[in-house]
């Protein structure tokens, strides 16, 4: 026999002003199954909760309904009170008569009627609630960090320094990511590689970090605390254990005319190469597509050059499976395909380059050893035009968002150019200058005031070539006049976009992404580093365009989440999960199709002699997130969702 307690909160005047609480109370008194009903000014207060606990103990209640504010506010409070009074916390329901009743209706009579209906229907529900126990799952104290850019390295180092094991996976042959490509960084003009490479070395030498470069994630299974990850270690054709990184093979390789990706195709590299001089690990890799041996079956010059015989043309991709408890995704970004802006002539005129290419020109390790030279003829450009928002904030190009870092790096480029080419003139076309950040606005002011960059507010409509010059036609909206500038070089501040395979990869690891392919956080304000999938966290520009300090802070935030997760032996989870009644399951696998988490497995039911009787669905309690989609799919009515069972919901509807 149900003995339900109903607690009607006045919430000061918030509820009592619009709802006749006395009438509500007497309506509940008469409801079958209700053994006690109370009203109070603030049930969420300490004395209020004492009242609830006392009523539960004195009346041996089998369930309670608190008619008060939204369950999103105080469900946890009252569940705790239940537990303290010896009642299973899941035998508590909250009737939302504040946010969804007293605050939104002005007619007191009708509001009271609605409050009675809401409370009554939840009494009917709570009568059918079951005692539930939190689910405990073990935790593997080892983390996987995907992406070896600055965000991934920072997250890996922070987790490893807390004493936990980390596997750091990078798909390129070296750690470093985009930060290793940069010349200097805003707003201090620190040399990027000088601050980056010590971190790369620290990560590679850390006793707790296992580094897997030139490797990719193939598959992710499991759930928070218990992920199984399959990693493909791509064949380098160079034995990592014996190679000393002497570089003889790189010197001798006869194929030297391959576009260098690290230099953004401004330089050339051989077929056996390390991406850059400070690469970590400093072990070369053979580019199979461009290697003469792999193309023609003859060459092997590198193998002959190697003094310790560590080149192996027969090497195959290897697969490894690892068990981890948490995953940090730090897969970074790409810059937008500039071919979209045909009117700016990128690809047609060699002296129209991207911001990242300018970084390589300005970098001491770049193809021109840090001298600003035009790609076409190697001359020093006397006039350079920088075009901001070349792609960003342009709905017609499918990028409505601001790429966030371009205003700052364009100001930096103008400064670097002024420092390296004395007497050179920099013109910058901009839409708005967005320089929010510590020391950022001062930095752009310096570009304008000290380094005399000329900022023109307006867009560029066309770039074309005439007598060896690039003619840039735009508009200065502050003067209200069209402008034409004869330039030697044009630099496009191209949009930051997600990795081309970001959406596919989101499916592999089971997280969400937005329309562009940037990964979704669990809550944009309050849970910005967690994903909707428990145990998977986001760091850096894979979530949205970010500069280095933001990426590093987010990476450290991820690390603190992971360390927090690893501080426990076992995890407790809400028991709102699907359960299958194997006796009536027909094995139609509708649930398997429905489940967004792959939580439903096929289980064999065997007879005593080991013969297969039938196959049924089994819901993995660690993976199930409790959406209930499978319940609605179930043809045999065997699956049900704890906390929201068919019986509970039908009763709730009948109670209305």
């Amino acid at each position: 026999m149900a003995k339900i307690g109903v607690f009607i909160c006045h919430c000061g005047e918030n509820i009592a002003a619009r709802i006749d609480c006395a009438r509500l109370l007497s309506a509940m008194d008469d409801h079958p199954g209700v053994s006690v009903s109370l009203e109070y000014k603030y049930f969420c207060s300490d004395p209020g909760q004492e009242n609830v606990k006392k009523a539960i103990r004195d009346n041996n209640l089998t369930g309670i309904v608190v008619a008060a504010c939204s369950p999103r506010m105080h469900e946890a409070t009252f569940r705790k009170a239940c537990a303290e009074a010896g009642l299973n916390p899941y035998l508590c329901e909250i009737a939302n008569i504040r946010e969804q009743c007293s605050w939104v209706h002005s007619d007191k009579d009708k509001a009271t009627e609605k409050a009675i209906d809401i409370t009554r229907s939840l009494i009917e529900k709570v009568k059918r609630n079951n005692e539930l126990q939190p689910i405990e799952v073990p935790v593997t104290r080892k983390a996987l960090v995907i992406g070896g850019g600055i965000a991934g390295i920072q997250a890996a180092l922070d987790i490893a320094n807390a004493g936990h094991e980390v596997v750091l996976v990078e798909r390129e042959p070296s750690l470093g990511g985009h930060m290793a490509q940069l010349s200097e960084t805003f707003p201090t003009l620190d040399c990027s590689q000088c601050i980056m490479t010590p971190r790369m070395v620290e990560a590679a030498q850390h006793p707790k970090i296992e580094l897997l470069t030139y490797s990719e994630i193939e598959q992710v299974d499991g759930f928070i605390g218990n992920f199984t990850v399959k990693i493909r270690k791509k064949a380098r054709y160079v034995d990592m254990n014996t190679c000393t990184g002497c570089g003889d093979c790189i010197q001798k390789c006869p194929q030297k005319k391959i576009s260098d990706e690290f230099d953004c195709n401004l330089g050339k590299r051989p077929a056996i190469y390390t991406p850059f001089a400070q690469a970590v690990p400093n072990i070369p890799v053979i580019d199979k597509e461009n290697c003469t041996y792999f193309k023609n079956g003859k060459c092997k010059v590198c193998a002959k050059a190697c003094p310790i015989d560590c080149i192996n043309f027969g090497m195959q991709d290897e697969f490894v499976n690892i068990e981890v408890g948490a995953i940090v995704v730090a897969t970074g970004f790409r810059i937008q395909n500039t071919a979209m802006y045909g009117e700016y002539g990128y690809g047609k005129y060699p002296d129209v380059i991207t911001g990242l290419q300018f970084e390589r020109l300005a970098s001491a390790s770049g193809p021109t050893a840090g001298k600003i030279r035009r790609p076409s003829d190697g001359k020093e450009p006397e006039t350079v035009v920088f075009i901001q928002c070349a792609g960003s904030r342009d709905p017609s190009k499918g990028v409505r968002y601001c790429s966030k870092i371009c205003c700052m790096y364009t100001a930096k480029h103008a400064m670097l150019y002024a420092h390296k080419v004395h007497g050179g003139k920099a013109h910058i076309f901009y839409m708005d200058i967005r320089a929010a950040g510590k020391g950022y606005d001062e930095f752009t002011r310096r570009a304008i005031e000290e380094d005399e960059a000329s900022y023109l507010r307006g867009r560029v409509s066309k770039v074309w070539q005439e007598n060896g010059k690039l003619i840039v036609r735009g508009v200065d909206t502050l003067l209200g006049k069209p402008v034409e500038i004869e330039a030697d070089m044009v630099v496009l501040a191209t949009a930051i976009t997600p990795q081309p395979d970001a959406k596919e990869f989101a499916r592999v690891i089971g997280i969400g992404c937005d329309e562009y392919g940037f990964y979704n956080e669990a809550h944009i304000k309050l849970r910005p580093v967690e994903t909707a999938t428990a145990g998977i966290y986001l760091a850096g520009a894979c979530q949205s365009p970010k500069d280095i300090p933001d990426s590093v802070s987010q990476a450290s935030a991820c690390a603190s989440k992971v360390i927090g997760l690893f501080s426990r032996d076992r995890l407790e989870r809400e028991p709102v999960i699907a359960m299958n009644n194997e006796a009536i399951c027909s094995g139609c696998w509708g649930c398997v199709v429905a489940c967004p988490y792959g939580a439903v497995e096929k289980k064999d039911i065997l007879s005593r002699s080991g013969e297969l009787i039938k196959r049924v669905a089994f819901v993995n309690p660690g993976l199930c997130q409790g959406c209930g989609t499978c319940v609605t799919f179930c043809r045999s009515n065997s699956i049900d969702l704890a906390g929201f069972t068919e019986k509970q919901i039908f009763a709730e509807v009948m109670g209305l």
Partner: protein, 149 residues
């Protein structure tokens, strides 16, 4: 006396988007008619067509199903399942003679308190114009076989 007909509307909503949106309408002190009774579920994917039938059987004049916008589902794809299920189910409803304009399907995010209030206002008006849903009660009366729990 010409008292206005007050329809009864049952809303099945997901807890992450529309329920939160309804809470936001409350915290923003927006006003809307008191005709809707909300049933909270984890996800629209959990909403069985049987719930809608049950609500109509119990005397609801209208039903609302609302969840997260496509692509925004907390559970990744529950709302897609709900949408597909609804497209199939509405054909069946139509076949059985239940007017489709008594059932509304919509997307309301946790940030759309205003949209929630507006939707409830317009839905209440629309259902009020349709009048009491006597037809379903008549159908139940004819068959006398209540839907089993």
């Amino acid at each position: 006396m010409n008292e206005q007909f007050e329809p009864k509307i049952v809303a099945f909503v997901c807890t992450y988007c529309t329920y939160a949106g309804a809470d936001l309408a409350g915290t923003s002190r927006l006003k809307y008619p008191p005709n809707v009774r909300i049933v909270r579920l984890p996800c629209t994917g959990r909403i069985s067509p049987m719930f809608i039938l049950k609500a109509l059987q119990k005397g609801a004049d209208g039903v609302l199903v609302s969840g997260c916008h496509p692509g925004d589902c907390h559970f990744t794809s529950g709302n897609f399942h709900a949408r597909r299920r609804w497209t199939v189910f509405r054909a069946l409803l139509d076949f059985t003679g239940i007017p489709l304009d008594r059932i509304r399907f919509s997307w309301i995010s946790a940030a759309e308190g205003v949209k929630f209030a507006e939707l409830i206002s317009s839905l209440t008006e629309d259902i009020r114009k349709l009048g009491p849903f006597e037809q379903y009660k008549a159908m139940i009366h004819e068959t006398e076989t209540p839907v089993s729990l």
